[in-house]
Symmetry: none
Subunit: 192 residues, 4 copies
DNA sequence: AATGAATGAGCATTCATTCAT
DNA sequence: TATGAATGAATGCTCATTCAT
């Protein structure tokens, strides 16, 4: 170990991977706060604490920033689902209804901004074909996770309904109640 | 009678209501073509064939344009649903599955651009609380219509699932097949 | 004279034609000083003492600025030629040689910057087809003027040779001498 | 012999002279395609297939690139003139008129882009004194070549007239006809 | 009421240039 | 020697907005 610890500040340069991750995270935060229409290279640079040139250097266009943020969000979602399901290997339909309702309600609380951000990223794919493969993965992850507990058709029905419910709660004037959500999911996931 | 009835065509000027409708329709067309991020007073003025000042005069902010377009889209949707249901007063669950599937598939064909526009308008409510009452009406209309044929919980489940399915088809790489949609709607609307 | 002199500063607004001319003149000055590659809306705005928006408002693109400047230069050249020839209705070939030589030598003195600017404007037409009709007029004016004194072929030969000579003097290391120019023009304009 | 002489092809790296020539040639191609205002180190690097650093390493500034390209163009022109004249050791004035006209017309055909590039390089000397000695050589080469066939004054007159004619054809809306050019050159080169 | 001229802030993007390796 | 990562200044252009008419 010749001189490692020295030059803490002057060093640090040249860790492109780290920079890219910082910029991506800052992109997500900017979108969460101001929406995609408020996303600019400048805002990202400021939020990430990097020079303006660093954002355009690593992400030449706004589309590149959005793609990176969507990718990051999907990766995070995949890890979340994995952990969620791994901790709950066996669930009855009724248990699933209760737990999914609980998870869904969380989207309207403190996580609201992040949830809106993820929706905005997802919806950016409406106009940007390059994002569609990543958007695909988003919804497929939900379906695959639910398929651990039920048949594929029911899993898909539940996944798209949850998406629709979330959207309704975020875009409408009032959030759905626990009872509403439970009733809907119970209608889809349980067989009378 | 000094001058009123004369010059029916040359008059025409000074019909503010008509102007407002022209501008609203042009706003929808602009969003359909370029997305909400491409919506500007200038683009609307050009598309509507009115002076720039006319757009800012009647719709001071971009949010006003969006609200008017969303309102218009919801009104049109309401009329469509009304006519659809009036022509089909009685439907069995299985008939409903078939017909809703058919209607849903239409969103991915030539109507795609308009469908994307309506989604963009709906999603604008995520960031614009003023739009949420109008967005509410959008989804409630679907639910109310389905309630003509089934219980409220099932109707809501079907409505949000259809929304989620449409989004999935528009934001993903491939559109769902008729068989996919039918299976999902059958799972929700019919009781085994 | 009711109230003319009042409000000298607050007035002045709303004289678009005047503004356009100021901006055009400033464009020529900027090109004279920094070349076409130094031409920017900002530089013109500063030189003309108008807001930046005024330049982009009246001349949306850089090409528009260049076209206006070229137009202006050609108009000025036309007026100059007209006056020059009107004052010299009859010239013998030898007189023409002497006077043209004298005029040509002027391009290498204090007028050099303006001459370079006019060449740069003329040459911008190499890459911008929209400028070519104006560039045409430039050279045709010279030919037409010389045609007052000699046959068309000789006039054209003299005009293009003078252009080539000017270019040679401006782009090379040393300016041609009076004797050089006289010899060349005499070779073209006089018949032995 | 560990590694020195081996791998004649795989080596190839480290041939600075070759690199410089490749970059120079790429510079000419970039200017031919996009003009001097489109000349950037990046564009040259891409066109030459070399790393960006290679262009800034060998040619620190844009002016250096231009100088190299002008030098290259002049060298090529010199070789062309040499060969042209060597193949035609004796020409009557009338023969010269015909052949020069033919050569001149070629500038407006498929060679147009290259001709425009050479003019742009030549004209860059208007603003860049460092280029003027090279620009001098350009025009002197033409004069010297013509001096093989006629007296110096006539040769110079013909050379500058040809330059002016070419410029007129390239910057104007229509190219001169063969008859036009012949008439002008005949006026200059032949004695009645 | 209605218009469009006018303004200046702001953005994506491009680049020359620097510098660590 | 040679490379390309990194920087920040600069530009054309677009627009929301204001305001005189």
């Amino acid at each position: 170990m010749t001189d490692s610890q020295t030059a803490p500040a002057a060093r640090r340069r040249r860790d492109p991977q780290r920079r890219i991750e910082e910029i991506t995270a800052a992109t997500e935060r900017v979108i969460a706060e101001r929406g995609i229409e408020g996303l600019t290279h400048r805002a990202v640079a400021e939020k990430a604490g990097v020079p303006l040139g660093a954002t355009t250097y690593h992400f030449a266009t706004k589309g590149d920033l959005i793609a990176a943020a969507l990718h990051s969000a999907v990766d995070r979602y995949a890890a979340y689902l994995q952990a969620w399901a791994d901790q709950r290997p066996d669930l009855s339909p009724e248990q699933l209804v209760i737990l999914l309702t609980d998870a869904l309600l969380g989207c309207f609380g403190p996580q609201r901004d992040q949830q809106v951000m993820e929706f905005e990223l997802y919806l950016a794919a409406l106009r940007r074909p390059a994002l569609r493969p990543i958007a695909d993965r988003y919804i497929e992850l939900s379906i695959q996770t639910l398929t651990r507990y039920t048949d594929p058709v029911t899993a898909t029905a539940a996944a798209v309904a949850m998406n629709g419910l979330t959207l309704r709660g975020l875009a409408g004037t009032h959030t759905p109640t626990r009872a509403d959500i439970e009733a809907i999911l119970r209608r889809i996931l349980t067989t009378p």
